[in-house]
C-alpha cells in the first residue's frame, strides 16, 4: 500500500476505472494536458487519449448537459466542474434532467454520471472558490450527494460513484486535497454509497460531520478524551439520500449531538440531521443538538476566512454546551 494524498487517491480511482471499463470518460475544463487545476486528472490524457479525457469549452451547462447525453448513450461520464461555485451554471441540467431521466422514462434511460467538484474553504482562494452548498443537491430528489473525508474513502467512494447507475454529485474538499496522506491499497476498494461510517465509538456525545470538517471534529474529540469525555464520531460520507439509522442509534446511546459543517447554517444539511434525530430519538435527547457551521453569509475573502470556518475550539465549545445541560 502506498501513502497517498487525496488528489493521488482520486487520480488512482479514475485511472483504474478507466483501465477496466472503456465506457468511463472524463470531461471538463482543463482536465486534459493540464490535468485539472488541482491535478486530479493528471496524466490521464497521456494514457487514455483525448477522446476519453475531454477538454471542453468553457461552459458548465454543456459539461453536464453533454454528460447526460453521453450517459444515455451508455457511457459513464465523470464531469469535472472546476469549482463547486460554478456548478450553478448547470443547475438546471442536473435538476431538470440528470435527476429525472430514469424516473421520466420509467427506467428506460438512465444517467450513470458523476459530477465532481472541489468545494469548501480554507485554502486562501478567490471569491466563488470556497463555497459549501451541498444542501442544494441534497434537496434535489434523484441525485446522490457524496463527500469523502480523506484519501482512502475518497478513492473507494469515487469508484462507487462511477459504477453507480444514478447521477452522483461528488464534492471534494479542497482543503483535504494535499492536507495529509493515507495508505491506499493498489487493489480495488469500493465503499457503498449511502452508508455513514462510525469513525470512533463513545458514550457521552455524538459528533456528526463530513468532508473537511471531520478532522477538526476528530481533533476536538481527542482533546475532549483527555478530559474523560468520550465522543462518538460519525462520518456522513453520503449526505443524500440520508440514511439516518446509524445517527439515531448513536444518539439513543449518547443523548447528545454536535453537527459540524462549513456550509451556512440555515437550511443547511445540519438542519435535516437535527430533524431526523428529533424524529428518531426524541425521547433520548438530553440537550438541544448543536450546529457548528458556517454562518448565514457569503464566506468572506480569505483574510477573514478563519473566523467563518468551524474549528476545533468551536466544536469543543458546542460539545461543552450540550454536555453541561
Amino acid at each position: 500500500m502506498a501513502k497517498m494524498t487525496m488528489v493521488q487517491a482520486l487520480n488512482l480511482a479514475l485511472k483504474q476505472e478507466m483501465a477496466q471499463d472503456d465506457s468511463v470518460v472524463l470531461l471538463g475544463e482543463d482536465v486534459g494536458p493540464d490535468g485539472g487545476v488541482f491535478r486530479v486528472t493528471d496524466q490521464l490524457i497521456d494514457i487514455y487519449g483525448k477522446e476519453r479525457v475531454i477538454d471542453t469549452p468553457l461552459a458548465e451547462s454543456a459539461i453536464v448537459g453533454m454528460g447526460i447525453g453521453m450517459a444515455i448513450h451508455g457511457l459513464k461520464p465523470v464531469c469535472e466542474i472546476q469549482f463547486s461555485g460554478f456548478a450553478y451554471q448547470n443547475f438546471h441540467q442536473l435538476e431538470n434532467h440528470a435527476a429525472r431521466m430514469r424516473w421520466r422514462t420509467q427506467g428506460r434511460l438512465t444517467v450513470p454520471m458523476v459530477m465532481r467538484a472541489p468545494y469548501g474553504g480554507g485554502v486562501r482562494a478567490l471569491e466563488h472558490h470556497s463555497e459549501s452548498r451541498e444542501a442544494y443537491w441534497a434537496h434535489t430528489p434523484g441525485l446522490k450527494m457524496v463527500i469523502p473525508s480523506g484519501p482512502r474513502n475518497a478513492r473507494a467512494l469515487l469508484v462507487a460513484a462511477i459504477r453507480d447507475p444514478d447521477p452522483v454529485i461528488f464534492y471534494e474538499a479542497k482543503g483535504l486535497y494535499r492536507a495529509f496522506r493515507e495508505e491506499v491499497p493498489e487493489e480495488e476498494e469500493v465503499m457503498e454509497i449511502g452508508v455513514p461510517q462510525l469513525v470512533q465509538e463513545g458514550d457521552d456525545v455524538t459528533f456528526i460531520s463530513y468532508g473537511a470538517m471531520l478532522r477538526p471534529a476528530l481533533e476536538a474529540a481527542e482533546q475532549l478524551a483527555a478530559e474523560g469525555i468520550n465522543v462518538e464520531v460519525i462520518d456522513l460520507l453520503t449526505i443524500s439520500p440520508l440514511d439516518d439509522r446509524l445517527l439515531i442509534e448513536s444518539v439513543k446511546k449518547t443523548g447528545r449531538a454536535v453537527i459540524v459543517h462549513e456550509a451556512p447554517r440555515s437550511f443547511g444539511a445540519g438542519a435535516e440531521i437535527v430533524s431526523r434525530l428529533l424524529e428518531g430519538a426524541f425521547y433520548y435527547l438530553e440537550a438541544p443538538v448543536q450546529r457548528v457551521t458556517g454562518y448565514d453569509i457569503v464566506i468572506p475573502y480569505f483574510s477573514r476566512e478563519k473566523a467563518y470556518m468551524p474549528d476545533t475550539a468551536r466544536i469543543i465549545k458546542a460539545a461543552r454546551a450540550t454536555l453541561n445541560t
Binding site: 470518460v25 477522446e51 476519453r52 475531454i54 471542453t56 469549452p57 461552459a59 451547462s61 454543456a62 453536464v64 448537459g65 453533454m66 454528460g67 447526460i68 447525453g69 453521453m70 450517459a71 444515455i72 448513450h73 451508455g74 457511457l75 461520464p77 438546471h92 441540467q93 431538470n96 434532467h97 431521466m101 430514469r102 424516473w103 421520466r104 422514462t105 420509467q106 427506467g107 428506460r108 434511460l109 438512465t110 430528489p141 434523484g142 446522490k144 447507475p165 444514478d166 449511502g194 439520500p241 440520508l242 440514511d243 439516518d244 439509522r245
Partner: protein, 368 residues
Amino acid sequence: MPRSRIDIPETIHYLSILDEHGVLDTELEPQIDDKTLIALYSAMLLGRRFDERMLDLQRQGRIGTFPPIKGQEAAQIGSIFQLKSTDWFVPAFRETAAEIWRGRSLESILLYYNGFNEGTIIPADQRDLPMAVPVGSQILHATGLGYAARYRGTDEIVMTYFGDGATSEGDFHEGLNCAAVYQAPVIFICQNNQWAISIPLKQQTHSATIAQKALAYGMPGIQVDGNDVLAVYTAAQEAAERARNGDGPTLIECVTYRVMMHTTADDPSRYRDDEEVERWRQKDPLTRFAVYLQNKGLLDQSREQEIETEVLAKIQTAVDSAEKQMKTLGEPLDMFNHLYAKMPPSLQCQKEEVRQYLANNTGEVHHG
C-alpha cells in the same frame, strides 16, 4: 491587411422546392420512391388528425393541457424521415408527428397528457429521448449523444428539435458550439414557427435569419421552407449524409408557422392578428403536398379518403384503448418508483408511510 473584410468560409443558403401554390422546382426535386411519398403524406396526415382530435378531447376535458402542432407537419416529417432506428431522436415538446413516426404510440401520448407517468414510455426498438419541457435544454443531450456515438465508432447520427424561442437560451449556444468543436454528428432542427408563446421572432433575436447563427460556430446552416416537405427532406438528407460521413453538425432552420395556440391554455388573440394566421394557412404543408402527389398521379380522391379513414380509425382505437387503460393506472405508491435504480432506505420509509396512510386514511378524514 490593415482594414479588410473577413471572409467567412461557411455560407448560408435558402432552399424551397415545392412552393405554397404547389409549384415544383423540378431541378431540385428529390428522388423519392412512390411508397415513401405516400408514407410521408400519411405520417403528416396522422399528425394533423391526431392533433385535431386531441384538441377536441382537451375541450371536452378528456385530456389536460397540450401544445398543438398544426402547420408544422412537414418540418417534422420531412426531417425525421432521415433517421434510422439506430439513430437518436431528441425532441422538445412540439414534435408529436415526429414522435409518432418514430413509433411512439398514440396511447402513450394520450396518457402523458392525462398526467400519467406511464405516458413517457419510449418505443422499445427506438433510440428516442422523452419530451423535454425546459426550452433548449435537450440540445446539449444531443451533442453528448453525438459525441458518444462517434466515440463508439458507430455511424449513428442525432437529430434534435427546438423552436425559434429556444435559440435565445444559453443551452442552444453551448450545444451548437460544442458540437462544432467536436464535429459531432448532430442535426439541429429549428422549427421556426414565428412565435414563442406571445413573442414574435423579431423580439426574439435581431438576426435576419436563425440559420445564420450557425456562423458563430463555424457550422453549415441552411434556411428552408419548413412547410415544404421536399425541401425539408432534402436539407435533412444532406445534413444526415454529412453527419454520417464524419463531417460534423448542421443547423437547419425550417420556416413554418404555429397555426394554433401555444398550448390549450393559451389565448393567441391577446397578441396576434387573425390575418397573419390566415396568410399562413394558405401555405399549409399538407395541401401543397397533396397537390404534388395528385400531379404525380399518386393520390386521387378515393386514395385520399382511404388514408383518411385509416388514420381516423387508428386514432379512435388509441383513444378507446387509452381511456380504458387509464381506469387501471394511477396507483399512488408507484410515484416512488424509478427515481433510483435501488430505492434508498429513507425513501422506502416514506413509501411505507404513504402505504399505511392510504390504508387507514378514509376513516381518519371522516372523523375530523
